[in-house]
Amino acid sequence: MTKDDIILKVENVSKQYRLGLVGTGTISHDLNRFFAKIRGKEDPYLKIGESNDRSTKGTSEYVWALKHINFEVKRGEVLGIIGKNGAGKSTLLKILSKVTAPSTGAIKSKGRIASLLEVGTGFHPEMTGKENIFLNGAILGMTKKEITSKLHEIIEFSGCERYIDTPVKRYSSGMKVRLAFAVAAFLEPDILIVDEVLAVGDAEFQKKAIGKMQDISSQGGRTVLFVSHDMAAIQSLCSKLIVLENGRLIYNGKVKDGIINYLSIKSDVSKTRLLYHKKRSGSRTALFSDYNFSYKYENNLLIEGVNQIPSGALVYLDLVLVNKTKLERDISITIIVQNVSGVPITSYSNIFTLNNLYLKKDKCKVRFEIDDFNLTSGEYFFTVVGFDNQNKFDEIENCFKVDVLESNYFGTGKYPKQKRLGNVLSKSKQYNI
């Protein structure tokens, strides 16, 4: 077997769901389906259906959670799967792990697939840790013999030695996760599916788990499919990436470009126009009416109209102002950034840069170019204030929100995640003197 050999092939997979309740209406659809089948025709309901956009009200009862998904995975590859909530990741994983069948299409595999979808499934609270290792291992497809031979390693990896003969219901949630991950880690499937399990557990355990996954793929030559929202983990683990959006595969290729592609998907936070904001103060001789974010990151591709920005990007914040007095005049604008606790973090203003901004007769556009957007990941709230001749003409507090995403800011793949490390990223050097 060569390294290039394809171990998993997903061919034209689609999955349809019916929305709403199961009721008396369902039985008529079932009958229609049945009659179509005995006449040798296609399922009539597979012809209809809409793309799965959760926020808009659709006209059809049927939606496509996945549509025409095609990709291949090679042996030993770590494939990252990313996408927004509702993009179809979980559905895809369910189909891959044989929990449910696709509506159309097929998945072909040359190896045993095991999934680590949600940790602790199949644990029985009344049984002891050791009994649960056996049960969980068997559910995942191991034989009793395999488990017995690895029992010691599993217990050691989990770090729950003291509790191993205690019923699992007495475990802390972290211990359950450790135990379950330990079982799965020593499972030897050809393809391992991991769905955001690393989100739980403390930092030390996460590190251990990521290390184990790297071992599985690099030394074991096994394939891992990894779903996460944690871009840093994706970047450090994966060798290939696919991006899903509304049930469609929109990207399949290198990790770095894929992440940028993912970030450029318009977020579903509806953008309210600043013009319609109620909570504002000032003389209202001019008003902020609209805003727009765009940014460049790493590959210099301009990504527009997003509220999600990776740390360290070159950000353009465009503001549109409406002049109510028709008088052209010089203005100054200050933008204040607050973190989720309401603490001011930084501000951007032409008061300090002395750059000239002026109002045109009726409408004008102002651009703030933020060179090094050095905020740590998290949500930030923006307040805009405008002055003309020392008078405040308009101020809107917390008028929009930006989601800052983790990135490879330091170029090392490391990123400060703890709150106590602050909200601002600073580049620094360290050396012996």
Partner: protein
């Protein structure tokens, strides 16, 4: 790249009979672990523990004897009524437990079925096996009373010479319960109506399964048709025939029982297989 060899394929199509016995065999350890789980967790944190296995049939037999034999005056043909009832109830219980427990396989295990794949049929099979062990324990108490009646009270009872066929009867019952249970559990995934039917239907079924009223009485009153088409009736009657040498067994009954058990099992597997692929979307 023309002819590639795939280990398995997941597609939208379902074959009519698709029971992968090899796969079931691979998961045999899981089956045994499920059985173990069922047995050790059922009576955890109870004082009487496994004694509960015995309490239920004993109490039921006592009440039935009081009500049906002492008050209603049903004759049991020379057999002590308590023993007659205990034999019937013990046998009936095995079928009942198999049917009710397998009939909510999908609903009860939705959590775990929704997360990982293993041959789904392992679950109902493990239920039938773990109930078999419970049945064994209950059979012991029946034997204990049997000996007590025969040697201390001097009742004239003896088993039939075909007693060695009893295991076949138990297998028949297990198969019937498993088959029907799988059919019901598959249907329940989409339409919950059946759950209501099962819970009271099984009660009613008991009365026409000759558990308390012997076949001879049905024949006497000319309502034989009530029990004619019920394979469980034949099974209970046969069980008592083998254990207590009391009852009528016909060739038709034997054949009918075996055939209907096998048909139920095959139909169960067929429907179960069809359902297991996508039930998680509809449950």
């Amino acid at each position: 790249m023309k002819k590639e060899k795939w280990l398995f394929e997941i597609s939208s199509e379902t074959k009519l009979i698709d029971l992968n016995l090899k796969e079931v065999w691979q998961y045999r350890d899981l089956l045994m672990l499920f059985v173990k789980r069922d047995l050790i967790t059922l009576y955890k944190q109870t004082i009487l523990g496994p004694l509960w296995y015995l309490v239920q049939p004993l109490f039921t037999s006592v009440i039935f004897t009081l009500v049906f034999n002492n008050v209603a005056g049903i004759q049991t043909g020379g057999i002590p009524p308590f023993l007659f009832n205990l034999a019937g109830i013990t046998t009936w219980n095995y079928f009942k437990e198999c049917l009710t427990a397998t009939s909510d396989t999908f609903k009860k295990n939705e959590q775990i079925f929704g997360k990982v794949y293993f041959p789904r049929i392992i679950m109902p099979m493990s239920i039938v096996v773990s109930n078999l062990l419970k049945f064994g324990i209950q059979l012991l108490i029946l034997i204990a009373f049997y000996i007590y009646y025969a040697f201390y009270l001097g009742a004239v009872i003896r088993p039939n010479k075909y007693l060695f066929l009893f295991p076949i009867l138990v297998v028949c019952m297990g198969i019937l319960g498993l088959g029907l249970g799988m059919i019901i559990s598959s249907m329940v995934t989409k339409y919950r109506d059946l759950t209501f039917l099962v819970s009271f239907g099984i009660q009613l079924l008991m009365y026409i399964s000759l558990v308390v009223i012997p076949l001879s009485l049905f024949q006497e009153k000319g309502v034989e048709w009530l029990v004619m088409y019920n394979p469980m009736g034949y099974i209970i009657e046969m069980a008592r025939y083998l254990l207590l040498n009391e009852g009528n067994v016909s060739q038709f009954g034997i054949l009918y029982t075996i055939i209907s058990s096998i048909v139920a099992l095959l139909l169960g597997i067929l429907i179960f297989n069809k359902t297991e692929k996508t039930f998680i979307d509809t449950i």
